[in-house]
């Protein structure tokens, strides 16, 4: 082209798969015109492990540890979604105390996931300090969860019919201390991040998502709530012990990155409220349902169970044909739908803005790839 004296106008830029801002192995093929993006195509699947195929080769119990490997940041919600789906299939009712324990632990896990997001996202935008604060807080949480579940990241704690271990006094004392601590830290986050002028300029009015786009792309989680739709499975389709607690669903109004950030920040406060109420009202009683069959062999049928994870709706779809192995399990993961809107959002933005938009989706790549 240059020989002919014609300037080549567009070129292709390869973002990832090993790029720090893609949070794992995501590749985005960009077609650029000067500094601006004309077309963006996410290339996913680098972390595909075939979880859905694995499900068909093992029994219901054996598939349980896989759930934590789907979304490693909010593993307990995936534990819960899968357990609830199987419980529905078997017709097991979980005791109240076990539901409370599940709520407490899942909400702590949600907070730890949001803390990672805030830290890593600000790192994407070039701010190094917040991640040190976030990981400091998160470390406390991981110690707490480690104490009761035995692991720091890939939790596999819930069982069909309840939970295997009860909380002890030390955990409850630690939980209350953490709630107190994190509440004092929100002031720091606001001073450090929310009021930071560089952060405001990078996020206000960028990556706008309309309510119509939410509908057409099937977005869920903070992506829709940032755009002003109060859709949260914990309220919209109440499950577990959530109806017993008083909490709000934070929503934004414009649907830009700032709104999504604020939604997540305020969600952590709401999670603390839920945990506090759960600790106060913790009922006595068994933590495991009676008569849970040792050999899980549900009758023929299918079931769909949705739960709210830190990123949106996780739906567990199980088809049983009366065998000890599931006939088919489909994991409807939130990030898959949430990321599919990226090509539309990326057009006519700068690469630096694309990094900001991509981060605001809060993608966990292994969850998309499964």
């Amino acid at each position: 082209m240059i020989e002919l004296g014609i300037e080549e106008k567009t070129y292709t830029l390869n973002l990832g798969p090993q790029h720090p801002s893609t949070h794992g192995v995501l590749r985005v093929l960009l077609e650029m015109e000067g500094e601006y993006i004309t077309k963006a195509e996410p290339v996913i699947g680098y972390g595909h492990r075939g979880h859905e195929h694995m499900a068909e080769n093992r029994n219901y119990h054996q598939f349980l540890p896989n759930m934590a490997r789907v979304d490693y940041l909010h593993a307990l919600a995936y534990n819960q979604g899968y357990c609830m789906a199987v419980e529905k299939l078997l017709g097991i009712t979980v005791p109240e105390r076990a539901e409370y324990l599940r709520v407490i632990l899942s909400e702590f896990n949600r907070i730890s996931s949001h803390l990672v997001w805030i830290g890593a996202y600000l790192l994407d935008l070039g701010a190094f300090t917040p991640i040190l604060y976030c990981f400091d807080d998160r470390e406390n949480l991981l110690d707490l969860l480690d104490r009761i579940t035995g692991s720091r990241l890939t939790y596999c704690f819930y069982r069909f019919g309840g939970v295997p271990l009860d909380l002890d006094d030390e955990f409850i004392a630690g939980a209350r201390a953490f709630i107190k601590r994190l509440r004092t830290r929100f002031k720091d986050y606001n001073n450090l991040v929310t009021k930071n002028v560089i952060f405001i300029n990078r996020t206000k009015g960028v990556g706008l998502i309309s309510q119509e786009q939410c509908l057409k792309y099937g977005l869920t989680g903070p992506m829709v709530r940032g755009s002003g739709i109060p859709y949260d499975i914990r309220k919209s389709e109440p499950y577990s012990a959530y109806p017993a607690f008083d909490f709000e669903i934070p929503i934004g109004d414009k649907g830009d990155i700032m709104d999504r950030y604020l939604v997540r920040l305020r969600e952590m406060e709401q999670s603390l409220r839920i945990i506090e109420q759960a600790l106060d009202k913790l009922p006595n009683g068994p933590i495991m349902a009676e008569k849970v069959p040792k050999r899980v062999k549900p009758a023929e049928g299918e079931v769909y169970q949705a739960v709210e994870t830190a990123r949106g709706e996780f739906g567990c779809y199980i088809v049983s044909q009366g065998d000890v192995k599931p006939y088919r399990i489909k994991l409807r993961v939130p990030s898959f739908g949430n990321l599919s809107i990226l090509p539309e959002l990326a057009v006519d933005t700068l690469v630096a803005d694309l990094v900001a938009i991509l981060g605001s989706v809060d993608v966990v790549i292994p969850e998309i790839d499964r």
Binding site: K216, I229, Y304, S340
Partner: protein
């Protein structure tokens, strides 16, 4: 109520089944059975009632496939499942022009089951490598064979 509105919107489409679901047992408020070629019309009707596409997947029943579409609503709880039986080797029409979010879901179904969606703008593999020559969620697929 949304469920009644949906039934009304689906009524003119001459579907094989539009019935109340047993929510406590299956998680569905409305169970619908359709033929694959009716899916664009069904999707259009669901969109007109403000429902979003929650998930789109398939089940390999050996003799045939079943396409499974889940729809939900942001404002009112009403999960609708649509089952569409598809003969082996047959194509289903895409609904990605109605729900752009279906684009990736259909690519995933193509990738894992080899089901083709007629009219899809960019039907190629999404999770597996581009040069893979198998569809892993088919019941006659054996993982060992793919490793050779």
């Amino acid at each position: 109520m949304l469920k009644d509105k949906l039934k009304k919107a689906l009524a003119p489409l001459d579907l094989a089944q539009v019935a109340d679901g047993d929510y406590a047992k299956t998680g569905y408020h409305l169970e619908v059975a359709a033929r694959p070629e009716q899916m664009p019309a069904v999707a259009q009707a669901m969109l007109s009632q403000g429902c979003f596409l929650e998930s789109l997947t398939a089940v390999d029943l050996r003799e045939s496939f079943t396409l499974v579409y889940h729809f939900a609503n942001f404002h009112e709880l009403c999960r609708t499942v649509v089952h569409a039986s598809l003969a082996k080797g047959a194509e289903a029409p895409t609904i990605s022009q109605i729900y752009p979010g279906a684009d990736w879901y259909e690519r995933e179904v193509y990738d894992l089951f080899g089901i083709r969606f007629a009219g899809h703008p960019n039907l190629k593999r999404i999770l597996l490598p581009e040069d893979a020559d198998f569809h892993p969620l088919l019941k006659d697929f054996a993982a060992e064979a793919a490793n050779d």
